[in-house]
């Protein structure tokens, strides 16, 4: 039981002056239904509301699972050297997601910052994100471009560059 992840429920209240305050608690993970509409939250929320003179305006749930016994990443990859993937949503807004410690093999070469989107593993990641990400309107994202995002220190020629 203790190894199961728990779900953190955060209730956000707003008072008459527009200030917000929060109330949080953990419940057991429900892997069969949406926790915010599940048994525990449905039982606690109606008795929580009368205890506050402020208004309950938002509920958030967070479920975190740590991977047991995770080994550290391999050198010389660092979280400061990132793969950036840019997408456009169904409303025309551009958004970029960055992934730290990207493998050298997803880029054309250490000297260039071009993402290889047509061969694995980069193409597979691009496809799975395009297929599963949803925007604020519930629509899908379209892939625009990928590039490398890193500081000058991580670039070849820098004294700090550790090489690949």
């Amino acid at each position: 039981m203790a190894d199961e992840p728990t779900q953190l429920i955060i209730n956000s209240f707003m008072d008459g002056n527009g200030k917000t305050g929060t109330h949080a608690y953990h419940v057991e993970t429900d892997t069969s239904s949406d926790i915010l509409t599940g048994t525990a939250v449905a039982a606690i929320t109606p008795v929580l509301i009368p205890m506050s003179a402020a208004t309950l305006i938002r509920q958030i749930s967070r479920t975190t699972e740590r991977v047991a016994g995770t080994s550290a990443g391999s050198t010389p990859y660092t979280c400061r050297d990132k793969l950036a993937l840019e997408f456009v949503d169904s409303l025309g807004n551009h958004r970029t997601w960055k992934f730290g410690a990207a493998l050298q093999s997803v880029f054309v070469s250490p000297e260039y910052s071009q993402f290889i989107s047509t061969a694995t593993p980069g193409s597979t990641l691009k496809s799975v994100l395009t297929a599963n990400m949803v925007d604020r309107a519930g629509g899908s994202y379209t892939y625009v471009r990928g590039y490398r995002d890193r500081s000058r220190r991580q670039r070849p020629g820098s004294k700090k560059f550790v090489g690949y």
């Binding site: 039981m1 203790a2 199961e4 992840p5 728990t6 956000s12 209240f13 008072d15 008459g16 200030k19 917000t20 305050g21 109330h23 608690y25 953990h26 993970t29 892997t31 239904s33 949406d34 926790i35 915010l36 039982a43 606690i44 509301i49 009368p50 205890m51 506050s52 003179a53 208004t55 309950l56 938002r58 509920q59 749930s61 975190t64 991977v67 995770t70 080994s71 550290a72 990443g73 391999s74 050198t75 010389p76 990859y77 660092t78 400061r80 793969l83 960055k98 992934f99 730290g100 410690a101 990207a102 493998l103 050298q104 597979t124 990641l125 994100l129 990400m133 949803v134 925007d135 519930g138």
Partner: protein, 153 residues
């Protein structure tokens, strides 16, 4: 739907970490979820770092609508703090913003009355459903009122 997201915590050999939030439609957390597993596997294949933590966050609007100015005395800094004890003897504090008068002892209107029906209804449900972060049972023990010093009503 649009507020739900998987968050991946990536760590490198230098013990640096980076988080990335991927917006998804999923609202149920299950480690074996195929979408989660697909994203995790394909992302890990592109990384020299390691995905050491996965998180699903979901959100929904509360039942109330904010209406500023309707209750000037109800300020979120005037809180009730209830203390609970986990089965591992850990102590947890549950703060509730903008305490209501019905939760206070009528003798002094300052201290929390755990026997008040509005409070006991909540503590009963918390005893049933609340757990510690390590998923151990929690028992509600005591409570108090916390407010800023100049705040009186």
């Amino acid at each position: 739907m649009a507020s739900n997201a998987y968050t991946f915590l990536i760590s490198d050999a230098f013990k640096n970490t980076a988080k990335t939030h991927i917006p998804v439609s999923a609202s149920i957390f299950s480690p074996s979820n195929t979408t989660l597993q697909s994203i995790k596997t394909d992302l890990q294949a592109c990384l020299g770092g390691v995905i050491e933590q996965t998180e699903l966050s979901t959100a929904q609007d509360g039942p109330g609508t904010p209406s500023p100015g309707t209750s000037a005395w109800a300020v979120v800094e005037d809180r009730m703090v209830v203390e609970g004890q986990g089965a591992d003897n850990s102590i947890l504090n549950y703060g509730i913003p903008a305490i209501v008068t019905a939760a206070l002892n009528t003798t002094d209107n300052e201290t929390l009355n755990l026997a008040a029906s509005v409070v006991s209804a909540w503590t009963d449900q918390m005893d049933l459903y609340a757990v510690t972060e390590a998923n151990l049972d929690v028992e509600i023990l005591s409570g108090s009122r916390r407010k800023k010093k100049p705040m009186k009503r």
